[in-house]
């Protein structure tokens, strides 16, 4: 999706507020949102669908509202889309609707529970598949020129650009389809691009940009 979220290389945002206070929650609501995102019951969805719903926030809001506020907006949207919350409930104009799926809120967690359980949340997205990777380390590739209408993780700034395979990561869940609720796996590579090939003003630079890209984003160069 060619949305406002695809920020790589866009210009005009001005200097970075490098000293902005951020330890670790600036304001109380940020902590509440973070906590909710960790422990609330949600309809079954994929991380890529959730990301796509965040990308679909109106551009003026996406670019100007605080980060964790966009999480809250995305949570609202995913609950409403799944029928777990109604729009009328969102602003308390309607009475509560029943959630149509079996719910079982787990018992209250303590900090100790969280710390003990944390390693079980190191989600792995890879899977061993039979097919062999098309590309090998050092091989030259070119990325797809066209974007896709839905969610994708091939940013605009590296489309139609020549690069090289830096490393092979195994097969990972393919986000473009996962955002549609379909779990498939595809070979994933670390791909390296020369800054000089990406930006007109950096033709003398030897700096590099590395992205993790799925096989169907790439063609042999």
């Amino acid at each position: 999706m060619d949305g406002a979220h695809d920020l790589g290389g866009q210009q005009g945002f001005g200097p970075i507020e490098v000293d902005s206070v951020s330890e670790p929650f600036n304001e109380e609501w940020e902590g509440r949102e973070w906590g909710m995102a960790q422990c609330a019951l949600t309809p079954e969805l994929t991380i890529d669908w959730w990301r796509h719903c965040r990308e679909l926030i109106l551009p003026e809001d996406y670019l100007t509202r605080p980060y964790l506020d966009s999480w809250a907006q995305t949570d609202f949207a995913t609950y409403i889309e799944a029928g777990w919350i109604s729009l009328e409930e969102a602003d308390h104009r309607g009475s509560l609707i029943e959630v149509d799926e079996p719910l079982d809120l787990p018992p209250t967690v303590s900090v100790e529970d969280i710390l003990k359980d944390e390693r079980n949340h190191a989600v792995r997205y890879h899977k061993v598949v039979e097919s062999k990777p098309l590309f090998s380390e050092g091989q030259n590739i070119v990325t797809n020129k066209e974007g896709v209408a839905g969610h994708t993780r091939l940013p605009r700034y590296v489309r139609g650009i020549k690069g090289a395979i830096n490393a092979y990561h195994g097969t990972h869940v393919f986000p473009d389809l996962s955002a549609q609720g379909k779990t498939t796996h595809q070979h994933l590579y670390s791909v390296v691009f020369a800054c000089a090939d990406l930006w007109p003003e950096t033709h003398n630079s030897k700096d590099k940009v590395f992205l993790d890209l799925w096989e169907s984003y790439l063609t042999e160069a």
Partner: protein
């Protein structure tokens, strides 16, 4: 049930614009209220999550990983080869670090991490991402003008050093292993860890300062 209907979500976002209060605190409060009323969240569990990331899970973990890698060549080898397994030895494996990768700074290479498409971050070893990491100014420029970005952080990179920017486009997350400062040969792990800044593990800091007590 999630229908994966993107058009519907666009419509919902538009509706929510009219229906929800504008200030973030009230919006999040509204969300918590509905979820609580519907039995979808337990406010006390939220409290625990806030405390966990306020007081326990943060950049001190990453600093410990770095200090151990400086001090223990066996650990460093394991960390570079399989970072999730290595941080699991220290009890730090968790959210967003199941596919962690460590990239090492040297005298000729400087690494910088960004997520241009959202704001991916290795939570279980660095905690909450700093505000600057999540704003458009950083996400847009880190891949286009990394040296300019670093200058804003007070970091000058000479021309003989290659800058490598890591854009976190998949589920891999990156941790920069900064260079061990000179004059720290006799520092123990705790003293070394005190020198490691959060920004140095993202790449917006490079030359770590040595103080007598190792308080960077």
């Amino acid at each position: 049930m999630t229908n994966y209907d993107a058009q519907e979500v666009v419509r919902i976002h538009q509706e929510l614009r009219e229906r929800l209060p504008r200030d973030p605190a009230s919006r999040v409060e509204a969300l918590e209220k509905i979820l609580t009323e519907k039995g979808l969240v337990d406010p006390q569990s939220i409290d625990a999550w806030v405390e966990a990331y306020q007081d326990h899970i943060g950049p001190k973990r990453g600093a410990h990983v770095v200090a151990k890698a400086w001090n223990d060549t066996g650990f460093k080898r394991r960390l570079m080869a399989d970072a999730p397994a290595a941080i699991d030895e220290l009890g730090y494996l968790g959210r967003a670090t199941g596919h962690l990768k460590v990239v090492e700074n040297t005298t000729t290479v400087h690494n910088l991490v960004v997520c241009t498409l959202c704001s991916c971050y290795p939570f279980s070893i660095l905690g909450m991402a700093p505000a600057w990491y999540k704003v458009a100014a950083y996400r847009s420029r880190a891949v286009r003008d990394p040296r300019g970005v670093l200058e804003e952080f007070g970091v000058e990179i000479s021309n003989d050093i290659e800058v490598r920017v890591w854009d976190s486009t998949a589920e891999l997350r990156y941790l920069v292993l900064p260079q061990r400062p000179d004059g720290t040969e006799h520092f123990d792990e705790d003293a070394l860890a005190n020198l490691v800044t959060r920004n140095s593990m993202i790449g917006t800091d490079r030359d770590l300062k040595v103080t007598a007590l190792g308080e960077g």
